[in-house]
């Protein structure tokens, strides 16, 4: 039996090694996933609904004036106080939408908006909208936003009487 000891020890070590190799293989995918959150995408207006070409996303070159930050915009779709198709670029940090003049997006004289109505925050490559305890609530795609709600390109965000279209 003694001559079996060495191969068995090797098998045991190999088994443990393989177990961690497996964990490494799946976790590496996961980490890659987190990195794959596209933060080098740049919005170019006017070319939204073309048919998609069959090409891998990784081959897409980085371009635009800002390679790191994603240029997201809120476009006014329908509003009583803002002109339609007004574009508000959404940068990093926290942005406040509300009636008060200190807001980043000011909804002046909108009777349905609160002073500080909603907050936009970018976190880990995703844009979140959060209702700031407003009276009438913030709606994403017609549903009341509860807590921080992640936004996807094309989502409709309703603050007071104004509906924004979010695009990345």
């Amino acid at each position: 039996m003694l001559d079996l000891q060495v191969p068995l020890l090797a098998a045991k070590a190999l088994l443990l090694l393989l177990l961690f190799a497996f964990i490494y293989a799946v976790v590496r995918r996961g980490v890659g996933d987190l990195r794959a959150v596209p933060d080098d995408e740049v919005f170019v207006p006017g070319v939204e609904n073309k048919p998609p070409p069959r090409r891998r996303a990784q081959e897409r070159p980085a371009f635009g004036q800002n390679g790191r930050e994603k240029d997201s915009v809120l476009v006014v779709e329908d509003s009583e106080v803002l002109a339609p198709e007004t574009r508000f670029p959404v940068a990093g940090g926290v942005m406040v939408i509300g009636r008060s003049s200190s807001s980043d997006i000011v909804l002046k004289n909108d009777d349905y908006a609160s002073g500080e109505h909603a907050r936009l925050t970018r976190h880990a490559g995703l844009m979140y909208v959060e209702d700031a305890q407003s009276t009438n609530g913030t709606y994403v795609n017609g549903r009341k936003a509860v807590g921080a709600t992640p936004l996807k390109s094309g989502d409709r965000v309703k603050v007071g009487s104004t509906t924004f279209r979010y695009s990345e």
Partner: protein, 436 residues
């Protein structure tokens, strides 16, 4: 979201092969007919390829993790039972269950690729869940003190494994419809925003259901799951901490009452606090488990060298102790990490899903998987009182394996939908780049 997982799949199958090879040498165990191993590997690879083909955007990493967990489970079940008379064929039976589970996964993916249909039948599903649970009260029979088995023809199964999934689908659909109402607050108590009293109905419902399980079926583990998972889903849907506080209070009240009313609960708690008070009786199982785990040390005794066969029911509830004993701290950590990866992928699927119902469905299924693992691993390591429940995919048990395969199938179709949507969104942006 699109994921190839060929390398993890290959490693997982390699681990299983190496495990069986070691066992054959170390214990001069009679080799199981090689063809079974080929069947197992073939089934998993076919499943993987089928999912890649049929659900190209689905999260295939889940399948790699499932392959590893079922593989390690098979190796351990074979090692623990091949020389126990009356149980020699458990590993083969388990392999059969994995085959059935695979079929169930494929069926789930085929029938419910458009899983939103399920939400239309949510009340029916809730009724089915309650019916399944109730059926064991009337027609079930007891195994080890818990009456949760049902005999249908030649097959014994545990309906609660399937009732759970039905209940989660129901709650996902129900909460997606009513979350606005449930989240609406009427007043604030001690800084906590409290919804109106009438909206606490769902909490009361799951509380009653889980208490019923506990009282009538003596199934501590399932009752804990039935309570915790809907509560977590409720919290995620509404963001109201009040539900969690109320849930915890109800849980405390329920636990205390049942502790004083029922002997079997008292025994469990007593065993947890002091297994040495009756080391050859009630404390025997937990003590043997602790000895086995301690015996494993850092790198383990090596497959086939440990003495974890001394633990009663080691191939089901206590399989984690056997893994810790023979693969050591390192091996059992790797196994727990594999569970963690599964949960991480599940939460990610839930984040990427398009609508509330899908998000809640993915979250509910994932949290059930996570809590189940937590309860049983905590139980066998004496961190919490032991409640008989299976370690997902690893433990021996047909209903558990099939139920978890169905769970994985549902997660896969949700991730397929989310992935397809993401892919459709990602491509137009590329065109914009070309235009610029």
């Amino acid at each position: 979201m699109t994921q190839r997982a060929t390398i993890p799949m290959a490693i997982a199958l390699l681990i299983t092969t190496l495990g069986f090879a070691t066992l054959i040498f170390v214990q001069e165990a009679k080799s199981p007919p090689l063809i079974y191993g080929a069947y197992y590997a073939g089934t998993m690879v076919a499943l993987y390829l089928g999912v890649r083909l049929w659900l190209p955007h689905a999260d295939a990493l889940l399948l790699a993790v499932v392959t590893l967990l079922t593989g390690v489970g098979l190796v351990m079940i074979y090692r623990l039972t091949y020389d126990v008379s009356g149980r020699e064929n458990l590993a083969t039976t388990q392999a059969g269950w994995i085959l059935v589970g695979t079929a169930a996964l494929v069926l789930t993916a085929l029938l419910f690729k458009n899983y939103h249909r399920l939400f239309n039948y949510k009340y029916l599903l809730a009724a089915v869940a309650v019916g399944l649970i109730a059926s064991t009260i009337f027609f079930g029979y007891e195994v080890n003190g818990a009456q949760l088995w049902l005999k249908v023809g030649p097959v014994n199964f545990q309906p609660s494994e399937f009732a759970r999934i039905a209940l989660i689908i129901f709650f996902a659909g129900y909460l997606a419809d009513t979350r606005d109402l449930l989240a609406a607050t009427s007043r604030t108590i001690l800084g906590v925003q409290v919804p109106a009293l009438k909206y606490f109905g769902p909490v009361a419902f799951v509380w009653a259901a889980s208490l019923g399980l506990l009282v009538f079926e003596k199934d501590l583990g399932s009752s804990l799951l039935f309570f915790a998972v809907p509560l977590l889903m409720l919290y995620v849907a509404t963001g109201r901490i009040a539900y969690v506080i109320l849930g915890a209070l109800l849980f405390a009240a329920g636990s205390l009452t049942t502790y004083y009313l029922f002997d079997h609960v008292q025994v469990r708690v007593q065993t947890w606090l002091d297994p040495w008070s009756d080391p050859n009786g009630t404390g025997y199982q937990v003590l043997q488990s602790l000895f086995s785990i301690a015996d494993g040390g850092i790198t383990g005794t090596g497959l086939g060298e440990g003495f974890s066969q001394a633990i009663p029911e080691v191939q089901t509830d206590f399989i984690f102790s056997a893994v810790a004993s023979e693969l050591g701290l390192l091996g059992s950590t790797a196994l727990l990490l594999a569970f963690l990866v599964f949960v991480y992928r599940g939460i990610k699927i839930s984040l990427l899903a398009a609508d509330d119902a899908s998000k809640l469905l993915a979250f509910g299924l994932t949290s059930m998987f996570a809590i189940q693992t937590l309860i049983i691993v905590g139980g066998v390591t004496k961190a919490i009182p032991l409640t008989g429940i299976t370690l997902p995919f690893v433990s021996y048990g047909g209903s558990s394996v099939v139920g978890n395969f169905i769970l994985t199938g549902l997660l896969l179709v949700v991730s397929e939908n989310a992935g397809r949507r993401a892919a459709e969104e990602a491509t137009p942006e590329f065109v914009e780049g070309e235009a610029a």
